[in-house]
Subunit: 164 residues, 8 copies
């Protein structure tokens, strides 16, 4: 991530990775303030054994693109919404990458989803991880189903009261 | 893709996949007009041996999200810009997926990049494909370098004239 | 609705439906997290006797479109504004439906209006419900008239003080 | 519609209505240039036997809202994109109606869909019209299916060539 | 204004009118909820002796346009920002009026400026009111000058502390 | 206006002024390229007998605001849409004036309406000009009525053909 | 700056200038409320020995452009985000300057960066100031490095807790 | 510049630099496709004797920021508008730089102005270049004055005809 102020949002990503049992490393790098270390990290990502890089940044968010320029690994971009333009600046600065150098962009502040997407990417070729993603999706469905059941049983007025 | 009118843009994606030697299947499906077939395709994608799904659509572009809801495979979303709102509608309708169901969104009309991203995703765990991505990046660099060299040699005025 | 976190806004819709004496059923479904149940709900909506479906969702809001794809009934879409992009994402993801599959979109967070629109839709062919809509409109006018009268009587300074 | 320059887009709506066998009347009215006639039309719409009103306008598009203020009938709003702001102005001016007076907004330039939505609204309580909507949806699916089949048979390169 | 919830902002307009010694009348009208009274007000504005109408509304703000349709008097539009889209919806719904029916739009929540603009409009042909506007402008300049002088004297650090 | 490239749009304004029999003077001034002459024009506008100033500019459109800063006369702002951002830049740069210095903004490229608004402003206190505005509004209504009548007589299909 | 309410943000600019040992003068001027003094300041900026002018303003932010029109010195524009449109209005009103009169725009509320940019501009030809900018960049990198080191040592969970 | 397709716009920048007699070097570099060469160029810019760097790029335009990260020299950013989002993506990706690393952003496609801004930056400390900027501004004023004079002499109708 580009700054330690991004950690509260980006730590949701780590939570998701832990859920899928995927090992990770977390770094504060910055395309603008620490360009050499960022480039060095990107260049060595393959040899250090990473499979996916997740980059979260706000404003003129260059981190994902700068890393994608230097590694053949897939890079997931998380536009962060703390800036004055509500994250639209980071979204455009990440998703609109030029021909040849894609990044995989998720929603504004979508750090948790970035972790899931990393698992899906590993799972593209690894059936075990894919299985964990499939289970996760069933759990998700289960939780919504249970909420719906509870809503049917107690009615929306009581449900609203209790969830306050 | 959601309509055969998307084919001129989406065929760039196939071009990229061919470049990386990745086999593919191309379908006109539609979350809205062919919902059952789309759901069926998504549900059977794993057993049919796909590793990645790429979905291109415009307007209220639901195709990527609807498929992502039904498969643990990574889904790449290509927002298409033919609609009245210049692709911002499709971008928002794709990238802003809810917690739990990410898609990997690329630039508006970024079909070519979607193909590269698919290769990067396969390459996350497959060193050979990753190698091809690395080579592709070198070719890209080479081409820009050559153009720059040519620009240095002939000067920008002559370069401009010739490229007209 | 797509999540129980949407209930505080969406319950305004139920309030409106009760005002018009229209029976309803409320479900937490999700185009992304509960796709099969959502599809099942949509497919059976006619035979279960519904006349109108109201779908509220935020972000890349697919719920209305996914249901509209599977039922000939009119679907009212309520874009919810809780996401990082202030509801513009949900608005675009709902209103920009492709040729052939319309949804009837109301304002961002316009759940109350969705209930009224449902009554107007029933009232298109049912004179009694239409009459209730006409009465409701008179009540609305009455209330604004009374406020205006009160403003004329007490002057805007006193009115402001009292409404604080 | 607000101007005869809207007729090329709005006539798609009439095409859709004819497809569903629904009788209609088409008027050039204008909330701004013909306010009395517009108000008169809206007030008499019920007694003249209309079930649905469809209003298409561009820019600061008030036509749908002005009519909705004066009739209990459902009003479908078609934001037209000919203005300098690409239809976003008309979209916001239509969809963001205040509490109490909803309109059913479709996509920018979505006149065809407005016709289908009118049929869905009639079909909410009229099984025959609903049946025609269901058939229409099957035809839509059929057409996409056929295109897909053709694409599978001839491959995307040949398909592209032929569709040029 | 369209609702009594607009009064806190719109009362700034009255403050400005009082500053210029201009008599006024304040009404809660609504293009959507009180269409007949609004139309009646607009039609009778000339004969009742008004010179300028100021209309403040939010969301799909039709009030200014609906009044402008029915009176030859200049109408000043104040887009109000309380809605979910931050006032951009009201701005577009007001400023993008069609050829033939202009309104004079001021900034989002610019009610105070609407009052000044009314004075400028009266002052276009009335030298005394114009003189008051000129004096007001001098006062404005005076106030900024004094603040600047104070800033020069105490330095920005002390100035900041004191203004907290 | 800020540049002679604005003349094709801004001349519509002069057309409207001529329609209302209002004398005018047209100048190419520029807040940025001709700041002294612009300031001089603004400062002398009252003594030279102008009642209203109309300023059309594109991009970071400062012309209206710069003139409004230097004259008590009402200034009408016409945001011009030729720039890369489709006129939204000019609209924001004009309409969002600070407290104390309003301008009366019309639609993007709304030069014709600026001329009508000028007539409405003169007509605020001049019954003869107001009468001409009222007549103009009747003519407008008449024209739309005639088009509508023609549409009723020939049907929309024939009308469409003939207007092509 | 255009108003003393801008001082809390704009004082960050002064902080940066002090860091680089650059002398400065701070003024509350206003293109709209104090046009003569602003023009006078701009015209005399060269003879008074200034090298760079930094202008911060919000809304229809004309201050930078108005000064740039009257001085050959570089003008840095700081769009301020306090207005209703979140600073996008000020950004567009500043950055979209017409051909011939550029300003150097920084991020919304980017006052601190404006100070650094001023130092970079002086440093374009002054090696000592450029040296200070280079040192500043090293300090920045150092700080991010230290944070990263600390994150590696304590892990992200503990880091998060401590930074709360 | 990021690609040779940017040359038609960016060559306007060179035209401006030539006008001010400033020597320059033009390179096709790319933050994404040629990251090492770009970094190398940025790191060596000071020792190679450059005073200012001008970077033009479109889409997720990282070129200016990536260079600014590696040099203490001022970097001028030209957002290019050829992409699907009309240059707003490039504008946000350039102007919204994080605290510590500013770039000086000009208008979308404002390459000519970037050249002038470079001259202003050199002129901040070099009186001769500043003198040339002052002369340029007088020429600009002269040209607009002449156009205005011509407009006064021939009237706007004839002027329009001749400029067609």
């Amino acid at each position: 991530m580009g700054s330690d102020s991004d950690l509260p949002v980006m730590s949701q990503c780590l939570e998701a990775l832990e859920k899928f049992g995927l090992p990770y490393e977390v770094q504060i790098l910055s395309a603008h303030r620490l360009p050499d270390e960022t480039a060095d990290f990107a260049r060595r990502a393959v040899e250090r054994g990473f499979a996916v890089v997740i980059a979260g940044a706000g404003g003129a968010a260059h981190l994902a693109g700068v890393i994608a320029a230097l590694t053949p690994l897939p890079v997931i971009a998380v536009p962060l919404g703390g800036s004055g333009l509500g994250g639209i600046d980071a979204l455009y600065a990440m998703v609109q990458m030029p021909r040849g150098i894609p990044v995989a962009t998720v929603a504004v502040d979508g750090a948790y989803n970035a972790g899931i997407l990393a698992a899906k990417i590993i799972g593209a070729t690894d059936p075990e991880v894919r299985g964990r993603v499939a289970e996760f999706k069933q759990e998700l469905a289960q939780k919504v189903s249970e909420k719906n059941l509870r809503l049917q049983e107690m009615g929306h007025k009581k449900y609203l009261e209790e969830s306050r």
